[in-house]
Subunit: 330 residues, 2 copies
Amino acid sequence: MKVTIKDIAKKANVSVTTVSRVLNNKPDVGDQTRTKILKLIEELNYKPNSVARGLVMQKTHTIGLIIPDISNPFFPQVARAIEDKAQKSGYSIIFFNTDNHLEKEKKAVELFKSKQVDGLIVSLSLGNEEILKELKAANYPVVQIDRSVFSNSYPLVSIDNKNSAYQMVEYMLKKGYKKIAHITGDLKTTTARDRLAGYKKALNDYQVEINEDYIIKGDYTQQLAFEAMQTLLKLKEPPTAVFAANDLSAAGVYKALFAAGLNIPADIAVAGHDDIDIASLLRPELTTMRQPKYSLGEKAVSVLLKMIDNYEAEVEAQILKTKLVIRESV
Amino acid sequence: MKVTIKDIAKKANVSVTTVSRVLNNKPDVGDQTRTKILKLIEELNYKPNSVARGLVMQKTHTIGLIIPDISNPFFPQVARAIEDKAQKSGYSIIFFNTDNHLEKEKKAVELFKSKQVDGLIVSLSLGNEEILKELKAANYPVVQIDRSVFSNSYPLVSIDNKNSAYQMVEYMLKKGYKKIAHITGDLKTTTARDRLAGYKKALNDYQVEINEDYIIKGDYTQQLAFEAMQTLLKLKEPPTAVFAANDLSAAGVYKALFAAGLNIPADIAVAGHDDIDIASLLRPELTTMRQPKYSLGEKAVSVLLKMIDNYEAEVEAQILKTKLVIRESV
DNA sequence: CTGAAAGCGCTAACAG
DNA sequence: CTGTTAGCGCTTTCAG
């Protein structure tokens, strides 16, 4: 059967305490005893049961990750960074996909609490401020990633979405485009709202009137962006450029444009946001704003670990920089 | 502080045993007592500690997932399916990236054992048969996904890679291509070896001589495929078609071809494998073999759960079908 | 229908 | 330097 600390103790003729001491590299163990025990551990291939350890230590060395969808190309790199960083620090990652579904987000939090994870990295939807309030009241370590649903509660690791969108639209404006449409992201998220705000601000600052027909609601998916673009094309006066809220949406725009026999950027210019892998693979290559996806993940973990180690420590939001990546589509 | 079963018991003036009974929906509890306890649980917002439960039940309702890299576009969909299916069955997923690194794979297994996960879904590299043998000896529930490193030990959920590659090459052959090169995947994996075998077999069956210069070792990454294609182009007699071991490699091939000012498929035809999202986004759209990624993940979980529930149950390998997706690149 | 007692595997005072 | 004791939060006989 499974070998436990007792087995080691018995075979070594010592108490479990002593075994526990060598397991945890504590002093106060005779050299002879120590080596004897170490040998036994080796021989019997004993591995401490971390569930038992977790129970007494009140610490599981596990982090819960709550994201909308790991198969959305933005998240794998973030998740990879999170797992890398966690791995290095001796933590494991349990992940949970929510599809931005409020009920699933709640379920995830309950699950993680019952699993006694040491902290949470979350990307929630607007409407779930309650969750964070409760967590906060219980002093649970949490960091928000990508989007914030309740900014004053927990540190956020993200980018300045408004400014990032602004930069892109400004670039388009400076290129001479005036009829710029915007396909939004899921407006249940702060990121989508902020990008929309950035788009509007840029137009305002450059004295270009905002045309509500040019703002179509999307949800960050290719499919909806495809349909949005079709709507845009049916306009009396179609736009000459479109800023898609993310690259996946830009890909949907590409498809609609190709289907209509239009050329990018000659007929209509297209910009995206995020710089996911496919951006440089699209033809023409997509002009977009690069998010430091890997860094976001790393930072989130380091901020969280700081909170875990010392809840009182001052942990600040980390707003990383995006970068305009000029390629061929604008 | 955290509310425990004891707190509930105390407030309800009953023993913890009774509370435990209602927690687990056991009979033999008076209606009055039950409702009283239920009310208290609600009021105090009590959630059972699953670490403690896991310790006594010897069951954590957790599955360990060992994959090379979640940010490789093939895996997110698989991972999503795994998490979905697990979630539905009350299990959580801890994931671990190994980069096909033998040491990391070992570390992952050790970690998961110490965490007492109920089972493992693994995608390992050749050279780590030992791991599986040990696991097997300990009767640990494991299912291999995508690739097998030790076929007779544990069930494999995957596709018939040899046959799949064969189909693609056969299609190219029938299209009239004779000078077909192959950029392999990472030959530390069975998938890459099988695809290579399928490629060779197709050429043989169609009496096309195998030209070793046309077989370039890759590792499933875009970068190496890019370089491989450059090598191919320098050949005295460059190929007229190339079968890349996966779509990511095909993307690398695209880049090299574009850089050389060549047209696809006019100058050189390109085929991939897997049908990841970008395949239909590339221009020209990529002809490839579709892997049922989501199904692979689902099946892996259901096979594993069967093993967990009853280790003796006969669980068979699941070899799913791939599908030739003809688009524009061949 | 209910409770007392034991124990899952481990750590942590406290003695000696 | 080492062992005894208690206990983490929960489930499970076994009595009553």
